[in-house]
Amino acid sequence: MSGKMDRMLTLYLPLALYTGFTLFPFYWATNISLEKNGGLGLSGVHYLPTPFTLENFVQAWNGMGFYIYFRNSFLVAIVSMLFTVVFAVLTGYALSRYKFRGKTTFMLLLLSTQFIPGVMLLIPLFTIFQGMGLINNLFSLIIVNTIFQLPFTAIMMRGFISQIPFDLEESAMVDGCSRLKSMRLVLLPVLIPGIIAIAAFAFIGSWNQFEFALMFISKQNLFTVPIGLQYALGEFNINYGTLAAGSIIALIPVVLIFAYVQKYLVQGLSAGAVKG
């Protein structure tokens, strides 16, 4: 077999097939979202949006209330992300820069959370938040997102910080910097890629959270995007055009963030999980 032929069969062909499998659903959602009535009532299946319309987006955004869901999700995801990043950096710093009693136990505790089923906490967290008066309150989702994102991002952060030599901070401290100041002035600037990675990780995870939002939130003006989508899916007269438009709206933030940070994410996952 010639080299070119071989490369075609073992590299480009499988790559093309897989790319098609990945992209087709995205293409189809876009197609339906731009088609009048989502293609229903038309003869045959159209592979290009004919007749073309932007009505579905207007309908999803205003009519179905995606502007509310989007705002709620955005608020929850941003605040959860901020909490997660601050706590994960502090934890990662302690685990990477200090020796202390109970360090191994704490690491095991962090790792063990990865094996706890989310649904297991559905019932007890509901009653706890009920007691705190946080049912139908977005703050309950912020807490849940933070605790679920925190263990893994903290482990990732420990990996990132361990890869940065301590010398720099040490010499800054010898020159009279306090530990916190050396952390801020010396460590943080080189840690930016790692912080971007865990921030993206936390944002995407929070943006996508579904079970707890479904359990805790029943008022429509507090719905997040996943609950809004689930609501749209459950409607008796499901309108595929607006559903597709809602899906595209839900996709935009994650796809933008993902495209920007995917290389950091790969190294973060490998630093955290494989070497952790």
């Binding site: 200090y98 089923p117 559905l122 579904f210 359990m215 290389k263």
Partner: protein, 317 residues
């Protein structure tokens, strides 16, 4: 990013060598505890304390729809589950089938894709960004997108299968008992393969190129090199990623719940979907908690046996 040798892994390495000093650290009195405190408190209050409460609830009747019956009932929930609840046993076997199908298929396809993406070709960085994208998509969104693809009236899958002459009558992929399980499996594959690819690609990139040189000089074929050289190097990454993924797929609830809600006729009711229905719809907290405890122990047992059998990490010592 697009064409360099090992994109993704380079930036952080270029910051400096993996410093021993960093790992050695120093004693700092109370300082590390203060840094850890927020994380520790959050985990204790919102993860470990709730877990204790699940144990407590599992010994009670706690039914929001019948509050007058609430009270301590000992192990009765567990006895009912194990002896009088056929749905529990069917959900358990469906969970098993689900986890095995997903993990095996995702591993094989994800490994294949990682091997391809580890080779040098034009626009590799761009391809990587594209094929990883579904990883970031939520379960509900997958349901929304795949219900557009699979619906029998305006969906392209049905249409294309008909045009190819493979089927003649429309199929309700997610409502027909014959097709529902595999329809859900394929939709989840779409999101799940990138995880394995990411993990295995990272491991592949850490194998030095010289490693293969001697084998290539010996004239070893591609398949033999893969089996006898690449696979052993990937072992720990494979064990860890399959374990994480098995746990994750066991717990996976958002997509199945929204796509089929366990139906038709409970054919896709996995244990977490069953628990979710008990918690959200039936609001039967005692029974749901007992189901949760059983699921938790099955998962723990599985993880321990798996790690033991696979001799994880022994290669490093």
């Amino acid at each position: 990013m697009a064409q360099s040798g090992a994109p993704g892994l380079e930036p952080i390495r270029s910051i400096g060598p993996i410093g021993r000093i960093g790992q050695m650290g120093r004693r700092g009195g109370l300082a590390p505890y203060i840094f850890l405190a927020p994380t520790l408190v959050l985990m204790l209050v919102f993860i470990f304390y709730p877990m204790l409460r699940v144990f407590y609830y599992s010994l009670r009747t706690d039914d929001l729809t019948q509050p007058y019956l609430n009270g301590f009932i000992g192990l009765k929930n567990f006895v009912t589950i194990l002896t009088k609840d056929p749905l529990f046993w069917s959900s358990l076997s469906i969970t098993g089938r689900w986890v095995v199908s997903e993990v095996v298929l995702q591993l094989c396809l994800g490994l294949g894709l990682a091997l391809i993406l580890n080779r040098a070709f034009k626009f590799r960085g761009l391809y990587r960004a594209v094929v990883f994208a579904p990883w970031a998509v939520s379960g509900v969104l997958i349901t929304a997108i795949w219900s557009l693809l699979l619906n029998p009236f305006s969906g392209p899958v049905d249409d294309l299968l008909k045009k190819l002459g493979l089927i003649h009558a429309s199929i309700g992929f997610t409502s027909d008992p014959k097709t529902v399980f595999w329809s859900v499996v394929v939709a989840e594959l779409w999101r799940g393969i990138p995880f394995f690819t990411i993990m295995l690609l990272a491991a592949l990139q850490s194998i030095p190129g010289e490693f293969y040189e001697s084998a290539r000089v010996d004239g070893a074929g591609r398949w033999r090199m893969f089996v006898s050289m690449t696979l052993p190097q990937l072992k720990d990454a494979i064990v860890l990623s399959t374990l994480l993924r098995a746990v994750w797929e066991f717990n996976n609830v958002d997509m199945i719940y929204t796509m089929t809600d366990g139906g038709p006729a409970n054919l896709t009711t996995t244990l977490p979907v069953y628990i979710m229905n008990e918690a959200v719809n039936a609001q039967n907290f005692g029974y749901g908690s007992a189901l949760t405890i059983i699921g938790f122990f099955i998962l723990m047992l599985f993880a321990l046996i798996y790690l033991k059998l696979s001799r994880f990490g022994e290669g490093e010592l």
